[in-house]
């Protein structure tokens, strides 16, 4: 059988659609821009500062903690899973690393390696329980969250240990005008984007989240795709913990749950257009979702909105966004 190769030029529409599906979150980016300029106008009109370097930098830094763990959350959600244990893993990381480092610069490496190992272990256990014991991801990671919480509060009840000054470069240092932490977030986002859209693992992750059985019957090691996503997600929670402890100078058991990194990260992911059922979405949307949440916070703070009302407004924004996605998909007929 003679095989012909007919290279066909792609038409514009295909190019465009491939770009959108690759970068993900087309609509959220537009919403983000609107929100950004809307916030600028709103805050400026009420006499506040929005478009200053300091304010923008502070928004970006606030986005880093949530952004890193939300990138990890994106992976598990794309795989059709979920991770509710990230908030307490952030706390465990913060406390454990600051206790190990204990103000001694020579122990920075040890501290980082130990918490990364703990994170990998937590992710591995989450992944194994979900895939091999077939425990629903919601329950498995909620259980893990309780275990971590128990272990932590049994051993610590306040700020413990301290991180050395050299380590605080992570939280406060800059290269030129750019904070280290923001560059780190951007790099992580870039690496994960590449992983999702250009590597075999990324293709398999979308496939497993889209249809587990199809992926398995196509020869994908579906269980391990999910397990690896969980390990990666836990590692991002550890990175968030390492970042937070560098800002706070010492770890406390409440830093994770206070930041609500579990639910906030899920909110950012779905705000970014990733389907909670898995298989559709991407990291670009998640980062836009994180920034959107940060902009909202910033507006609320500058306008002096009551704390409880803030939550109400966040809730409204989240539900409205998801409803818009649902309606759009229905219109598109898919």
């Amino acid at each position: 059988m003679a095989q012909r190769t007919v290279p066909q030029p792609l038409n514009l529409r295909e190019r465009y659609s491939s770009f959108v599906s690759a970068s993900s979150g087309g609509p959220i980016t537009a919403v983000l821009l609107v929100a950004f300029f809307g916030a600028w106008a709103l805050v400026a009109a009420t006499g506040g500062d929005f478009m200053t370097i300091d304010n923008i930098r502070s928004m970006l830094i606030r986005s880093v903690a949530l952004g890193i763990v939300a990138i990890g959350q994106t992976l598990v959600i794309l795989a059709g899973s979920l991770d509710l244990s990230v908030a307490y893993l952030v706390s465990v990381t913060a406390v454990l690393s600051s206790v190990i480092m204990d103000g001694d610069p020579s122990r920075i490496a040890v501290g980082v390696v130990v918490v990364l190992a703990v994170g990998a272990l937590v992710g591995l256990v989450n992944g194994l329980v979900i895939t091999k014991l077939r425990v629903n991801a919601f329950i498995a990671t909620l259980g893990m969250a309780l275990i971590l919480k128990g272990l932590l509060t049994a051993s610590f009840d306040n700020f413990s240990g301290a991180v050395p000054e050299e380590y605080q470069v992570l939280g406060y240092g800059r290269i030129g005008p750019f904070p280290w932490a923001v560059l780190l977030l951007a790099a992580l986002g870039g690496v994960v984007w590449y992983m999702l859209n250009r590597t075999r693992y990324g293709h398999h992750l979308f496939a497993v989240g889209g249809d587990f059985d199809t992926a398995r019957l196509s020869g994908v090691r579906a269980d391990w795709v999910i397990i690896r996503a969980h390990i990666f997600c836990s590692l991002t929670a550890v990175m968030t913990g390492l970042f937070i402890v560098s800002r706070l100078r010492a770890g406390a058991p409440w830093v994770g749950p206070d930041g609500a990194y579990d639910l906030q990260s899920i909110a950012a992911v779905v705000l970014g257009g990733t389907a909670l059922a898995g298989g559709r979405g991407g990291v670009g949307g998640t980062i836009a979702g994180v920034f959107l949440l940060a902009i909202l916070d910033n507006i609320f703070n500058q306008l002096g909105v009551n704390t409880f009302l803030k939550d109400v407004l966040r809730g409204v924004v989240l539900i409205a966004a998801i409803a818009i996605y649902a309606v759009q998909r229905k219109r598109a007929g898919r």
Partner: protein, 507 residues
């Protein structure tokens, strides 16, 4: 082709394959062999073990006993991947494509060509184009998102996916279940291309007519045993049916309605339109079975959904029992004494993890109180009587319907609608994927309902069914009614009406 079949070394040989699940013996000592360039059909009623046998061949299940060998060498697969590596490709009954991903991503899932960590997208798309053109397919872009393709195009992607492994053995499980007759023909052309390349094809189907037109040899399974393997030129459909069910079905279809037996018009649509539907004119009388034929995509299912209010008509008028009315939702339709057996019974007709009893009562319990009182006033509804009437074979009324065979599931769906004492029943593909015995049972029930004065509208892709059952045949094309034919018209008449200008689909 059949005269050259038995040659020295079979490509694939199964010996004494047995398999049981939870103590239920599904396969008993089945033998099968397949030669290069041969199409070997496996037929049998639902539950005869065809799909289980194919899954064993494909490495998805491991046999309890027995031996598999390829080129005379014994093999034992522990996974689908291992079977793939030994040259076995499979196209499963349910499509296994990811709707959100592109054609190329689907075809190369799990085996993406890569350079280091990076997927070589260009190579992947070029290989996809080669595969598609080797199947004689033009105009299907590797970057098209699968969810936007037609069913026939998706099937092509499915075949290309199996072929991307360069298999020597291809297993096709009910590949034509969702295709129109004309699409089946183009599928068979592709199967013949594979045959010429020396690929051995194991072909499973319920449709005996297709089996005759494509297979060189046929193996009949019954209750997990192999009844016989025959050359397709040596047997008739009647022979096969006898082997499959162990008896000859003397009546394929029940008698039609007597000419004077039909009542008034129960349901009439005038110039109906919604979505792709336009200028639809249709009427169904009490006591009549109207067959609705047409190619895939001609608007048959859309019409049914609009009649039942799932996608309400936007234009035109609907009359029920002679009075103008609007059907804005399935709930409205049920209030007007209508019932709808959907094409996809598993996702739209049944709640799979619920019992036979709860499924049978689902529609009745959802009726508006006034209508429910009216139904009950004609005597209490008994699920036991209903399930006896439709002849559901279940361990008990409390058994979950997901454990029932396709035929019995369909009977439960029918019981669900009978519980509401409907005057109009719409059947969409009532016997798709159902074995011969259950099929005859459902046909008889449909006729019995019509004889009691129910107006029946039946959509079917199986022309023999349309011809055998209908008192009148309405043919759809391009979203409207193309014409009407009397009872007993030939397949050719129907196809001529259905396909005159519909050649653009599925090439």
């Amino acid at each position: 082709m059949s005269d050259q079949t038995p040659r020295a070394e079979p490509l694939l040989e199964l010996r004494g394959i047995s398999k049981s699940f939870f103590g239920v013996q599904v396969l008993r000592e089945v033998d099968l062999d397949l030669h290069s360039g041969e199409v070997h059909a496996v037929v049998g009623e639902n539950g005869a073990g065809k799909s289980t046998l194919m899954k064993i061949v494909a490495g998805a299940y491991r046999p309890g006993e027995g031996e598999t060998s390829i080129d005379g060498e014994a093999v034992a697969f522990h996974s689908v991947r291992e079977a793939q590596q030994r040259g076995i490709g499979i196209i499963f009954q349910e499509f296994t494509l990811l709707p959100e991903r592109t054609v190329a991503q689907n075809i190369f899932l799990g085996r993406e060509p890569s350079q280091g960590l990076r997927v070589d997208r260009r190579a992947m798309e070029n290989k996809t184009r080669e595969l598609l053109s080797s199947l004689g397919v033009e105009g299907l872009s590797p970057r098209a998102v699968v969810g936007t393709l037609s069913v026939a195009q998706q099937q092509i992607v499915e075949i290309a996916k199996a072929l991307s492994l360069d298999p020597r053995i291809l297993v096709m499980d009910e590949p034509t279940a969702a295709l129109s007759p004309h699409e089946v023909d183009s599928l068979f052309d592709r199967v013949r291309i594979l045959q010429q390349r020396g690929i051995g094809v194991l072909y499973i189907s319920h449709r005996l007519k297709e089996v005759f037109s494509i297979a060189d040899r046929i193996t009949v399974l019954k209750d997990g045993r192999r009844v016989d393997t025959v050359a397709s030129s040596d047997v008739t459909t009647g022979d096969l049916v006898r082997m499959m069910v162990g008896r000859e079905l003397d009546h394929y279809f029940p008698d039609r309605a007597a000419p004077g037996a039909m009542g008034d018009v129960k349901l009439r649509v005038t110039n109906g339109g919604a979505g792709m539907l336009h200028e639809v004119n249709l009427e169904v009388r009490a006591g009549e079975i109207v067959g609705l034929a047409g190619l895939q995509g001609s608007g048959r299912t859309e019409l049914a959904r609009s009649l039942f209010g799932a996608v309400p008509f936007e234009r035109g008028t609907v009359e029920v029992d002679g009075s103008l009315t609007k059907v804005r939702s399935p709930r409205d339709a049920m209030s007007l004494h209508m019932g709808f057996l959907t094409e996809d019974r598993k996702s739209e007709g049944l709640v799979l993890p619920h019992s036979v009893r709860n499924n049978a009562l689902l529609a009745l319990r959802a009726l508006r109180p006034s209508r429910r009182r009216a139904v009950n006033s004609a005597g209490p509804v008994s699920v036991a009587d209903l399930s006896k009437r439709v002849d559901v074979r279940a361990a008990s009324l409390e058994q979950e319907v997901r454990y029932l065979s396709g035929g019995n599931q369909q009977k439960v769906v029918l019981a669900k609608w009978l519980a509401t004492r409907p005057d109009v029943l719409i059947f969409d593909e009532p016997t798709r994927g159902i074995d011969v015995g259950a099929k005859a049972g459902i046909h008889e029930l449909m006729r019995e309902l019509a004889n009691r004065g129910v107006a029946v509208l039946m959509i079917s892709s199986e022309l023999p069914e349309v011809i055998g059952m209908s008192d009148r045949i309405v043919v759809m094309r391009g979203g409207t009614v193309a014409g009407e034919l009397p009872a007993g018209s030939s397949e050719q008449d129907i196809l001529l009406l259905a396909a005159t200008d519909a050649e653009q689909e599925a090439s």
